[in-house]
């Protein structure tokens, strides 16, 4: 037993901080101290409202007791709903808090697992605390996301498996672990990997596998998976009274299976993932292993990396436990990467998307680190130092070793904290605030779609605007945000013509200058085939490519006659209307707070920063064209402080070129170049791109 190794006696060390924790004579007291320490740090760093990516969707779905995107995540949704009952703060904050609490509980399980392995409270406490504050784990604990729930389930399954492996109540522990894995299918599907890990304790204690166990195991697993029925029953409820926001609709058993297996996602389909996992190609396994170790495992435990190696070395005395850890590490860092990280050329986007999948592995790694802590302290005390009579060393060496990672914690907290980060909150609000009364927003891509979902479903902002989710639905409408029962009175024409084509329904709005899309690039074919676009605030405004003879907008009467080819004057008139609205509404954007928000390097945040940067440049340009040079200049400077110009300068220059404002584009680039420094180099690059774009356009014209 490891408890009999030197590490097992670490608590007897004459160290102040060890003695401090040893004085607390119950594990419960220490557990509570750990949990509340972690919770205090998380609460101080928590995102104050919605965050980027799926976070807003989870908050909205939790509040609605609905479903998120496939596989629906019903387990997280119902836990989020529980937290939304707290009578303090806003809904998004409360759902974010659920992630923090689940992360705190995962840290507790690290403590318990480590204690089972080492019997050292101090080492276990230190390992669990550092786990909670390791950057990847920490960030996921501060927003509404499923990964800390997955981490809690994974470490609990690991703990139960470890107990079974050590001969403690095999039947109870393995059945409970299987139940949790089943329940975990209502969270993130990577929990299935713990099924592989659990096979080792079952194999190692095969003599304890009885007929009763064989009978009960599938039953408890199935009982756990029944959490997924939430999606079916809520879909039925929606059919009955149309009340919930369901992103994954599953009112038939077939639909339910499709949602659970993520059939809509093709390459991310669960069955496809399993097929990939079964693929025998060795190269991709190795690439995945390398990618995951270098990009995830090593950075996650970097300050304490040596302790994990020491931990593994000390486990040699306990071969079964050692194998258990190795199986877990292989499951998370060999099998999972084969599915999500096996491409030899990892893009930043795919890496960022994949990193949170590995969050459940972090508590397991930190249990190993705790073994390393306990073993190192024990080794120094009993072996190395005592034998060499280096009496001066024991007083501080072990303390330094264990405390060293803690020195880095304030920096981690500073870098990862989402306290005061309102970027997603302001983004969703600003999109809606900038919409004219009774307009139509076609929503594409996660950031605008999910933040607007939340603002509408929970905060009920701008209920005069029709918001249509068109993502993944080709050219049909997704009415989650604008259900018939709510909007058919305000928009009778729209709902009457719901069976006619998308382009016809949109046209009325477009002719009034009230049709918008959240992204120009992601528009569906029918929309992009029939409508031109012009930048609007954080979105684009759409107008028909073919206009009626007399559009007669913005009065709003449907024009008569057949569509004709666009006449330049009409297009110019349309752009003038959009620009006028832009001019009026830009000051409503919360760009000041975006400037104050600490920069976060993830791709979703960058998308938002770049949109604010672009729009501020656009506004500055408008002011300059009005002859308000100084004010315009001020907004150019604001744009550069809002976000890195690398994110938006080229898109702004490219827009100017497409809008036939070459001189303006090159004047801007000369101005930036004159400023010198890194921006000058950027301007040179953008200038080269601009020349190539002009050449390409001229060549295309010549060909025509």
């Amino acid at each position: 037993m490891l408890a009999n190794t030197p590490s097992g006696r670490a608590k007897t060390l004459p160290l102040n901080f060890l003695a401090l924790t040893a004085k607390i004579n119950t594990d419960t007291g220490i557990s509570l101290t750990l949990f509340f320490t972690v919770l205090f740090i998380y609460t101080s760093s928590l995102s104050p409202s919605v965050y980027t990516g799926d976070s807003s969707l989870f908050a909205a779905a939790s509040f609605s007791l609905g479903t998120a995107h496939p596989p629906g995540y019903p387990l997280y949704i119902i836990i989020g709903k529980l937290f939304s009952f707290l009578p303090i703060g806003n809904v998004a904050f409360k759902v974010n808090l659920s992630s923090a609490v689940l992360a705190g509980l995962a840290c507790l399980m690290v403590f318990k697992t480590s204690l089972l392995l080492t019997k050292s409270r101090a080492a276990s406490w230190a390992g669990a605390l550092i786990c909670g504050l390791s950057p990847i784990f920490f960030l996921e604990s501060l927003k509404a996301e499923v990964y800390t729930l997955n981490a809690l389930l994974a470490i609990t399954v690991f703990y139960l498996g470890l107990k079974a492996l050590k001969g403690m109540d095999f039947m109870q522990n393995t059945l409970a672990a299987l139940f949790l894995i089943g329940l975990g299918t209502g969270g993130h599907h990577t929990i299935g990997l713990m099924g592989l890990v659990l096979m080792w304790p079952v194999a190692a204690r095969w003599r304890e596998v009885t007929w009763k166990w064989l009978l009960l195991a599938p039953v408890v697993f199935a009982a756990g998976t029944s959490v997924n029925l939430l999606m079916y029953f809520r879909s039925l409820a929606m059919l009955e009274h149309g009340s919930v926001m369901l992103y994954s609709y599953a009112s038939t058993w077939q639909d339910l299976i499709n949602v659970i297996l993520r059939r809509a996602y093709k390459s991310a389909d669960t069955i496809y993932a399993l097929k990939v996992m079964a693929s025998p190609r060795g190269g991709e396994w190795l690439t995945g292993l390398k990618n995951s170790i270098l990009n995830i495992a090593a950075p996650a435990i970097l300050p304490v990396l040596p302790f994990s190696v020491i931990g593994l070395a000390f486990l040699i005395k306990e071969k079964k436990t050692l194998v258990y850890f190795i199986v877990a590490i292989l499951a998370w860092f060999l099998v999972l990467p084969r599915i999500v990280l096996s491409s030899p050329e990892m893009t930043e986007k795919s890496l960022q998307a994949a990193i949170p999948y590995f969050v459940p592995a972090i508590p397991i790694l930190f249990s190993l680190v705790s073994v390393g802590f306990a073993s190192s302290i024990g080794l120094l005390k009993k072996g190395f130092l005592k034998k060499r009579r280096l009496k001066i060393i024991p007083g501080f060496i072990p303390v330094v070793l264990v405390l060293l990672p803690f020195v880095l914690l304030p920096f981690t907290i500073r870098d990862v904290s989402l306290n005061g980060n309102f970027i997603a909150h302001d983004f969703g609000r600003d999109i809606l605030t900038a919409m004219p009364v009774k307009s139509l927003l076609l929503n594409y891509t996660d950031n605008p779609m999910f933040t607007v979902f939340y603002m509408r479903a929970v905060e009920r902002l701008r209920e005069d605007v029709l918001v249509i989710d068109t993502a993944g639905k080709k050219d049909t409408y997704g009415m989650e945000s604008s259900p018939n029962w709510k909007y058919s009175v305000l928009y009778p024409d729209f709902y009457r013509s719901a069976t006619s084509s998308v382009k016809e329904i949109n046209r009325d709005f477009a002719l009034k200058g009230k049709l918008f899309a959240s992204s120009a690039e992601k528009m569906t074919e029918v929309v992009s085939g029939h409508y031109s676009f012009y930048p609007y605030l954080l979105t684009v405004a759409l107008y028909p490519k073919k206009a009626y003879g007399s559009p007669n907008w913005p009065v709003g009467q449907r024009p008569r006659g057949e569509p004709t080819a666009h006449r330049g004057a009409e297009e110019a008139e349309m752009k003038a209307l959009i620009t006028l609205r832009y001019r009026e509404n830009y000051p409503k954007l919360n760009y000041e707070r975006i400037m104050e928000t600490p920069y976060r390097p993830d791709i979703f945040c960058r998308e938002m920063y770049s949109l604010y940067g672009f729009n501020t440049m656009f506004y500055g340009g408008l002011l300059k064209r009005e002859g308000r040079e100084k004010e315009g200049e001020r907004f150019f400077v604001t744009a550069f402080s809002l976000s890195n110009p690398r994110l938006f300068l080229w898109s702004y220059v490219s827009f100017l070129l497409k809008d036939g404002r070459k001189e303006e584009a090159f004047a801007l680039l000369s101005e930036v170049k004159a400023g010198g420094g890194g921006y000058a180099r950027l301007a040179e690059t953008v200038e080269a791109l601009a020349f190539s774009a002009i050449d390409a356009a001229e060549a295309a014209d010549a060909e025509k």
């Binding site: 119902i78 709903k81 939304s84 303090i88 009982a223 029944s226 009364v437 929970v458 905060e459």
Partner: protein
């Protein structure tokens, strides 16, 4: 044993509310103070933003919620008098959406929400008349349509939603009870297993019913 469990539970809950409630109240107060600064300077846009944020950190019985709502209402009326209807709309919407964002088992500020609904619907119609989309004689019917969209709400009913959550944790607890009590130390205790099964059946039924009704 149960007494000890209750004491521990109470300590945990008290600490939890102290940490979370303290943080929320601190954030609310600091945003309110910032808002007061902007209000004194006459920077209405930032004042609205900060009052709105203060209200988003809703704390029951806190004076800052009511005071923020009053300030936002004043700013809204001021914009209205200046005929800056869209800006007035932002101020009133801030009150309304902040109270909706703070929903839990109850919706705070229902009176405020009702007052804001009237204001926002009226302002929307005035904007539409001004841009020529609605004729002045249709104002009343148009306002009624806006009010309908703002009043109709089918968010989950709190009681049924709470029952759904309770039923869920009930059947989870029942399965764990069956595993740990019904099959303790490799022996089957039929009594515990039956209690667990009955509890499972009951809470699972409550869960399903509440999901359908919420």
């Amino acid at each position: 044993m149960y007494k000890g469990f209750l004491v521990k539970g109470f300590i945990v809950a008290a600490l939890f509310f102290l940490i979370v409630g303290g943080r929320v109240f601190y954030l609310q107060r600091s945003h309110f103070m910032t808002a007061e600064g902007y209000y004194a300077e006459g920077n209405w846009k930032l004042a609205v933003r900060e009052y709105d944020t203060a209200m988003h950190f809703y704390t029951p019985l806190s004076p800052y919620v009511e005071r923020s709502a009053q300030r936002l209402w004043q700013i809204g009326e001021m914009f209205e008098q200046e005929e800056r209807f869209d800006w007035a709309n932002i101020a009133y919407s801030s009150i309304r959406s902040s109270f909706y964002a703070s929903r839990s088992l109850y919706t705070p500020g229902k009176d405020w929400i009702k007052k804001c609904d009237e204001k926002i619907a009226g302002l929307n119609v005035r904007i539409l008349i001004r841009e020529g989309s609605v004729r002045p004689e249709d104002a009343a019917s148009e306002k009624a349509r806006h009010l309908y969209a703002m009043n109709v709400d089918r968010a989950p009913r709190p009681l049924w939603a709470a029952l759904a959550v309770a039923g869920f944790f009930g059947w989870i607890g029942s399965v764990i009870f069956i595993i740990f009590k019904g099959f303790a130390h490799g022996k089957t205790s039929m009594r515990h297993a039956l209690y667990g099964a009955a509890s499972f059946a009951l809470s699972f039924s409550v869960w399903v019913l509440a999901l359908l009704r919420a």
